[in-house]
Symmetry: C2
Subunit: 390 residues, 2 copies
């Protein structure tokens, strides 16, 4: 057995995305202790950088020492008590995972379902809130990674608050790619992941909780069922004015990496990052549509960073992805759940949202699909992209 | 705000330990996808390397994508069902954390307590097993990081099995430093951490479960309360013969690092690593005792990798540690829990278990303590260590 030398890929799936070289370099800096004063100063900066990314002044803004799925669970185990009724808006895989979380916390999940690929329907949520006036929480996915649909979180949260519900919002795929405004939208609890539009390595989940959410946690009648995720304990290490007392050993180097990724976002500016994601999405779309591929999400609801397109009839999904990987070192994503085998998910996330990636992806797809005899338009994608990128 | 350039420290606390340079280098290699065939081959190697480290053939041997505390919780949430009676042997901080885990899973914890610094008393466990013949599980810490005491896990596990109990064993601080023999000792569920004697960066928890443990998980009447830690789901990605289906996004680069750390252990050989930890412990001990410091753990129960010594009377704990850090870039550990302010914990873990670290640590301690007017013997530690290292 030998040291593992990974191939160099271009990562245009649903995450992990291409990681910034500066982030990889930061990752390999000397490890120091989790209570070292130098590390504690870095933690303070990291919190501030996360507040900027989330557009919030929430003191309880921190990185969970585990992947995005654990960020989700951190929100649910802290906020949901046995017997709590939670309205879950589902329009893809991750709403289903929220339901699992609610039930495993002893809560009652009321599902509001929309078709996969659609945004969350505001009227359906309103009906559910009226029908369940004992609901305590509304949970929703801002950017559904399984479909590429974006929902109107600002309006949904407002509605939830009118019915006295707290809100939990999944922004794993949106943070850094499209606007996420925690304070302006009034989001009570939010989680994300390091490996999407932040272009950091996978494994860390940024979260933020406002005062209303913390109040519910403080008022709990029962202990949080997870020791590792119990914010009452984690706050002793990460909390505002905390003594930075040992709770668990923080993943030191992974936090150097997140600090660097957030610094890059800060240097570029959020507005500029959002504009870049939008512009590059339009160029990718121009190329894919010229080739004859179609998006599954209606135009106004499309996420610029996650492009789900229908696999042309008669084309073998796995063979195409395998050829892209082997011949071009290019990773695009398969469909997930109900969409497995039906769509490809092409990510333009963070550092992967670049002109060169778009030309590579569309060019390689055209070559492979053409070679396999798929019915696509050839020779027209490149000029269409050039025009959009100009 | 600027990029974070950590100081270069020598890490001789209770972990993280000094990280192997090869591990830091592996960490910064290009990120690839969690379903990339190249990554999946690496996962298979990683499992095999972990089996060697744990000395087991358990198919369910894998790294949890989170710190050691979450590895602990993974064992408890999967094995403990509401109402299950669990005997927890406590002789330090981490037995207390096990109690929290049992109770948060709805289990009933029966505590068998020993003094901090003592090994677990086999007779006390036997009495508890006789008094509680409805107990289902016995949980114990092999190497108590808070005190530096090692317990006789082989005998304790045998006893538990005689009373039809499964066993959960914490080897966070022992794995790679002193013998851990999962199959020979019959351990049913075990967890460890990446950042101690494996000298990898913090953030990953190796775990292993035998067939008996998996049977209990399969026979559960209730769902595992954590979605993220539910082995029934995680096995779809990490399990034997699994399709490596998406569960959560694995912390890719952190797993490169663990692969490299385990490769180094494999190259050195377990027996050789254990012997090195033992030899260096004796040298450190020679220096510290010559200086007049005393160990809190009785000689036969001492962990070579975690040396807890009493702080000399009249000496200010924090000032000494602060001076070691600022003047020598040396981190040693403070006391934890009941031992806070009373002991220092000096780690000789993995890559930190080297002759040069011992001379630095004892030399720096002698300088700082001497300068502060503490009652220690000066000028005798160095020759004592030289003799032990010869």
């Amino acid at each position: 057995m030998q040291t593992f030398n990974p191939p160099v890929r271009t990562l245009m799936g649903p995450g992990p995305s291409d990681v910034y070289p500066r982030v990889l370099e930061a990752l390999s800096r000397p490890t120091i202790g989790h209570l070292d004063p130098a590390f504690i100063r870095m933690m303070d900066e990291l919190k501030e950088l996360l507040q900027y990314a989330f557009q919030t002044r929430n003191a309880m803004t921190m990185p969970v020492s585990a992947p995005g799925s654990d960020g989700m669970e951190t929100c649910f185990v802290n906020l949901v008590e046995p017997g709590d009724k939670v309205i879950v808006c589902q329009n893809g895989v991750f709403g289903g995972r929220m339901k699992e979380n609610v039930e495993r916390c002893g809560g009652i999940a009321v599902m509001v379902e929309d078709s996969w690929g659609d945004a969350i329907d505001i009227n359906k949520l309103e009906d559910a809130l009226k029908a369940h006036d004992d609901a305590r929480i509304v949970a929703m996915v801002h950017a559904e990674t399984s479909t590429g649909a974006q929902s109107d979180v600002a309006t949904l949260v407002k509605l939830a608050h009118q019915h006295d519900c707290l809100t939990i919002v999944d922004t794993v795929t949106s943070l850094g790619g499209t606007p996420v405004k925690v304070d302006e939208w009034g989001i009570d609890a939010i989680y994300s992941g390091s490996q999407k539009c932040l272009s950091c390595t996978p494994g860390i989940a940024p979260v933020s909780f406002n005062e209303r959410a913390l109040e519910k946690i403080r008022d709990r009648q029962t202990k949080v069922q997870s020791w590792f995720m119990d914010l009452n304990l984690v706050m002793g290490y990460w909390g505002e004015g905390a003594k930075r007392a040992y709770h668990h050993t923080a993943p030191i180097n992974a936090l150097y990496a997140l600090h660097e990724a957030l610094l890059i976002l800060n240097e570029e500016g959020l507005e500029e990052a959002w504009a870049r994601h939008r512009k590059n999405h339009l160029a990718l779309r121009a190329g894919l549509e010229a080739m004859g591929l179609s998006f599954i999400v209606k135009e106004p609801d499309r996420l610029p960073q996650l492009n789900a397109v229908t696999i042309p009839a008669g084309v073998d999904d796995a063979s195409v992805r395998s050829r892209l990987l082997n011949e071009y070192n290019l990773e695009i994503g398969a469909g997930l759940g109900a969409l497995a085998g039906k769509v490809w998910r092409i990510g333009l996330m963070g550092h992967a949202s670049r002109a060169e990636n778009i030309l590579l992806c569309v060019g390689a797809l055209e070559s492979v699909l053409g070679d396999m005899g798929a019915e696509i338009n050839t020779g027209v994608a490149l000029p269409a992209m050039q025009k959009a990128l100009a």
